[in-house]
Amino acid sequence: MSLKKIEQVKKDKGFKIFDLIIYGAVLVLVAVLFIVVFTTRDTSELSGVKITVGTEVVFEYEFGGEFNKKSDSVTVEEDGKSITVTVTTDEGKNVVYIDKDKKTAKMLDADCRGKQCMYFPELDNNSKYIYCSPHGVKVEPLSRDWNSPDIII
């Protein structure tokens, strides 16, 4: 680079108008994405969690209340912030973690093949269920909105 060119670059302004347009566009894009994601979410909270094995309900918990262990196949550990439910079937074991503060549930561990159930999103009011197909274990919201005009297949 010639000396003249170097001097020219030194004299240039820190930002040109094109730079500012790009930065502005990126900021607008981020703001729009933020607004779209957080305003279209169903923000109503999950009321509780139900765990079934096949067709048998083995565990129920309503946030703020006491859990209801309905089968010997279930062991429960509870502390102030969470409940960890271990479901043991002939097929294997699933560990469900319920976060009392966030009002969510997730499949913490499973010894099924593929462990697909561990990749389900956390159960909140936007999700339908978490399902471990090999073990037949299903984690779903405790109460259902029978009035909803939406059916998911």
Partner: protein, 387 residues
């Protein structure tokens, strides 16, 4: 400033280009449908629609009723190893409405129990259990339920030239989707080709199953054909899992009629449904879940006053050495389907037929499926999605 202009700015531009490139990436999945434009919406840019011709059903009009006093009642009940949702919307403040609803519930529960006890291959002394344990050539008495389901199964078997075949019992079990075998944990647990071939050969004799009605009694006769596997003589056995939930949806739909409930729906584990009207929106919104990304919807349509069924390779499956094995068995190969079709939904007509048809379409592969839908399913809306 130099840092901003020479490092940050180019980085932002590159990031934007990558983001833009991501938005323009090639479509991964194809949705085939015979639905007219405007009857559906595509919700995910990774899916593209290919149209199928032939759909010629007429639109149906509904009486407008004042539903302002309507409230929902719903419950879930276990049946056929899954859960069924029953939803009714009516004016429950009317005299006798609650008792009427309780009577309806009692009848629905009894019906589903009867269907389950007739069609289950594992419940001792069910019709199908008795059929499966009978000798080749035997005739056994069955219930009206089993007779009606077999009648429909034979009809769809013939209509689909065998792509729906409920006699693939041994294949389903050999791959771990029935009650007799565990799911394979590695490739060496899979059945060998010779055995699969014999099981499949046996299933091709489903067309020799004979059903008979004499007065109020019903009978089924088992084919004479047998095969030898590991020194054991095997006769034909049935698995009606691919049609039973649809039949249940048809029968529960009749109960909605009987009790005068025109609002609500019956949803049998998202596999088969009878959908009535919604008091607020008229039609129900039907969202299709991405078969490869749980809880993400890619396609939407509306349903009202219709029955429908869905099958997919994401309901029961496992992966071994990078190969996906699902519970739907191809009658051509005798192995879990790998046609590239991930899910099929058929809307309209009877749910039992739809249930069997979705299984058949999964097995056809896309080209034969398109031809079949164009020629045979002109009165139903069909959606199938391919990898």
């Amino acid at each position: 400033m130099k840092f901003l202009r020479r490092i940050l700015l180019p980085s932002v531009v590159c990031f934007a280009l990558v983001l833009g490139g991501g938005c323009k990436k090639n479509t991964v999945y194809t949705v085939y449908t015979n639905m007219p434009d405007g009857a559906y919406t595509l919700e995910d840019k990774n899916f593209a629609v290919e149209k199928i011709g032939g759909y010629a059903a007429e639109s149906v009009s509904f009486d407008e009723v004042d539903t302002s006093a309507f409230t929902p009642r719903g419950y879930s009940l276990p049946a056929m190893f899954v859960e069924a949702d029953v939803v009714v919307m009516t004016d429950f403040d009317e005299d006798g409405a609650q008792k009427h609803y309780n009577d309806f519930k009692t009848e629905v529960n009894a019906l589903l129990k009867d269907i389950s006890n007739s069609l289950s291959s594992t419940v001792e002394n069910s019709d199908i259990y008795n059929f499966n344990n009978a000798s080749a050539g035997d005739t056994i008495e069955i219930s009206q339920i089993t007779y009606e389901v077999l009648e429909k199964a034979i009809y769809v078997y013939e209509m689909t030239t065998g792509f729906y075949n409920p006699a693939l019992y041994y294949n389903i079990n050999a791959y771990g989707f029935g009650s007799t075998h565990k799911m394979p944990e590695n490739s060496s647990d899979l059945p060998d080709d010779e055995t699969v071939k014999k099981y499949t050969d046996l299933a091709t004799h489903f067309n020799e199953v004979e059903i008979d009605k004499q007065g109020d009694k019903y009978f089924v006769t088992k084919p004479q054909y047998t095969v030898e596997v590991d020194g054991e003589t095997l006769s034909l056995k049935l698995d009606l899992g691919g049609i039973g939930k649809g039949y249940a949806a048809d029968r529960v739909d009749e109960l909605y009629d009987k009790y005068g409930y025109n609002y609500g729906y019956f949803n049998f584990a998202a596999s088969s449904m009878a959908v009535r009207s919604n008091p607020d929106t008229g039609a129900y919104n039907l969202g299709f879940t991405n078969p490869r990304w749980f809880n993400k919807q890619y396609f939407k349509t509306t349903v009202r006053g219709e029955k429908l069924s869905t099958s997919g390779d994401n309901e029961q499956f496992y992966n071994l050495d990078g190969v996906r094995y699902c519970h739907i068995i191809s009658p051509e190969t005798g192995k879990p389907v790998q046609t590239g079709i991930m899910s099929v939904t058929v809307i309209g007509g009877g749910a039992a037929e739809d249930d069997a048809l979705t299984t058949a379409i999964m097995c056809m592969g896309r080209e034969r499926a398109v031809k079949f839908i164009e020629e045979k399913l002109t009165d139903r809306r069909v959606v199938f999605t391919c990898e």
